[in-house]
Symmetry: C2
Subunit: 431 residues, 2 copies
């Protein structure tokens, strides 16, 4: 694992990196030495495409179609209602949760897969406020992913008990964490820039102030090693369709720290969270531990897809994923900056890979158009308003060669004004 | 459509039906004349099985495997993130909602498919309480499906503003509907007995008292004609996996009456309900009408299955479904009662088909064991605590012959004491 950890950076006198390009031979050597290179064969990757959007929707693991087909034709079609017992549908939220637990440093039995990230965040937030009844402030980052903020705004409005969602800049979070804060709610990796929060330090600070900490791991789980236990996180949520490759709209997950799991009585109470769902008791009695975070009937087909997708990680050392992720991001930055000096492109992500999630973003005033042109040229990233061109790096599927090529194509699209063609200005529903 | 609407009932002097069996020829004639008989070919129905549990999990429509396979391999696998626009994923909740709207008498654009029934009920209940801020009572049936009661209990506890879930017997609902009630929350067809509430009359009564009405249509949608518009329902919810055949844990639906849709600001607020999700606005602005009832990212694979499943209904006249449903239920009751006089089996459903959903239930003290023995004998119904043997009739897939045979097999299991074998006493996780 050498040769790529400093890919062409030389410090200049004023501390700004002066980047150098890599030779094709150097890049080939990186791919030849890549300990994760065999994983790509476990995915369907369309030919002729460089996919740098696995942080928005992970590619299709080859095990998924067969598994879902089996769930439909054998489990549902042939077993019908008996599938709940015979095919283990009833246990899927816990089974899938345990596979995710391993990736986020959670103990078995502390995570379930169900519902959406937004719904799970509402469960976590309402539980946290219940545990800190005397406090009224939910503290978050003004640039947090919008749905996180909307969930908190909806809850504050619904509770109508004088709670407040306090939004500050990332740099102000530490100082804003005072003894009036009930819960700190942050996304570990910023969805626009990839900037990482220090989960351990901020959770410790929250606890010192008597607050609880909820972490959104949408851009963390499956992207790099996460340690909710070591960080002391109280709650965590995340989605199944980004780095976990569970498919569009895959079920999300929720982690509840063991000391809280049986101490909260969920606001979102449903029959699957009851102590004995098939007693048909008219009165809610929360199930043991994490079980009570279940609400309605599990989405078996989607959970089956996610379950199969997670098996890709069974033999993966997440430290290797992190090493390659940083190397891919460093390479992309270096190649873009080496080849392109235009003032219209400015790095939005931390240059230091250790402070970055598994993505690299650039500010670009015509980023929407440039991204459409880039997609037409075979490189898929995405655009995030107002001006972010975002590129995700999924170490299980990407080669160094692809990342270097993507950089060259991006440079060409910008240099040659390809993005100015009128068709690239047409706005799509989903950007 | 004659010959089956009075299947073997003769009134005796005291008004109790004296039942007569039908001859095989009479039953064959019913099947030959059945205008829905061709629909069965659109489903995978395992051979050698009589499936009377489509009210718990509908059978697999043949269109589903191919559609889900396409969603996985082409839309996700090949198009990747572009599927949101190119494959129309972003519009699926509304598209599927419109197909369900037609089945429940709702206008296009008033229903979305998303989340679970429990989550949708929480949306409806919280919105209804917002519209009736000055009132504190949620009125429901003590025998309502438990998850409905749990959702209300969770909300009452979470709001902590002195709300009360008032539970009464079905016969007391009308009188309990007074001017203190904020919202009446009922399931149209009782999950145990199939007893139907008069949605129109009770909604009118609720409105007269200034209350709102939420109807759970889990056992109605796809089972018989529903008219939420004509009944004046304020909100309705229901699941996708029973009579709609969307598969295990299929997405549920929510209907909001047009006059309320833009008047409520959802408690459960998420990015897909925002006016402009891809503006990434930090402040929630609810989308137009029913759109604001969306929360998180739609479960595309599950929605695709449900979307394909609903096409089965495209050419179906729901009045014919209702006629056949009543006839199948009447036939089952008549055949069971004609052949079996044991005191251990007692009809739990209304004898009058017009007052019954698409199911027939019997009280039976050893119902759990008897149902296990019946399933082993090739007839699948289900058991609902404490003593209900439940049989669902799905007119699109069942023949009169099957229903008559199921009655005979049930009688044999009971008469011969088959159910006393020890293996049938072993409790399963899901009953």
């Amino acid at each position: 694992m050498d040769g790529w950890d400093k890919p062409g950076h030389d410090e200049t006198e004023n501390g700004v990196a002066k980047v150098q390009g890599m030779t094709p031979d150097q890049i080939s050597a990186l791919d030849a030495q890549d300990p994760l290179r065999a994983k790509r064969a476990e995915f369907h990757i369309p030919e002729g495409l460089i996919y740098l959007d696995g942080n928005s929707l992970g590619p299709l693991p080859k095990a998924v179609p067969q598994r879902v087909c089996h769930a439909i034709e054998d489990e549902w079609g042939r077993r019908l209602i008996r599938g709940w017992n015979e095919a283990g549908w009833i246990d899927l939220p816990r089974k899938v949760g345990d596979k995710i637990a391993r990736l986020i440093g959670a103990a078995p039995g502390t995570v379930i897969a169900a519902d959406s990230t937004s719904i799970n965040l509402l469960k976590a937030l309402s539980a946290a406020l219940e545990l800190r009844r005397e406090r009224k402030i939910i503290l978050s980052d003004a640039k947090n992913f919008p749905t996180d903020l909307y969930v908190a705004q909806g809850l504050v409005r619904g509770l109508a008990r004088g709670h407040e969602l306090k939004l500050v800049e990332a740099s102000e979070i530490h100082d804003a964490l005072d003894e009036r804060v009930a819960v700190l709610m942050l996304t570990e990796a910023d969805y626009r820039t990839g900037q990482l929060y220090d989960m351990r330090a901020l959770t410790a600070r929250a606890h010192k102030m008597g607050a609880l900490a909820i972490w959104d791991l949408c851009h963390s789980a499956g992207a790099f090693p996460v340690d909710v236990t070591g960080a002391g996180a109280d709650f965590a949520v995340g989605c199944g369709y980004k780095y976990l490759n569970g498919g569009p709209g895959a079920p999300a997950f929720i982690y509840v720290a063991p000391q809280h799991a049986s101490a909260v009585s969920p606001f979102l109470a449903g029959w699957m969270g009851h102590e004995a769902p098939f007693d048909f008791d008219p009165f809610y009695r929360p199930g043991p531990g994490i079980d009570r975070m279940l609400v309605g009937t599990p989405a078996v087909l989607s959970l089956s897809a996610l379950d199969a997708a997670l098996d890709v990680f069974a033999d993966v050392d997440m430290r290797l994923v992190r090493e390659k992720s940083i190397a891919l991001g460093d390479l992309f930055i270096a190649e873009v900056e080496h080849q392109y000096a235009g003032a219209d492109l400015k790095l939005a992500s931390p240059r230091d890979g250790a402070k970055r999630g598994s993505q690299v973003s650039f500010h670009c005033a015509h980023g929407y158009e440039a991204m459409q042109a880039l997609i037409a040229a075979g490189v898929i990233g995405d655009f995030r308003a107002p001006d972010i061109m975002r590129f995700g790096f999924t170490p299980l599927t990407l080669s160094y060669r692809e990342v270097a090529d993507a950089a060259s194509i991006l440079v060409r699209v910008l240099s040659e004004g390809e993005w100015k063609k009128p068709q690239y200005a047409v706005r799509a529903k989903v950007t």
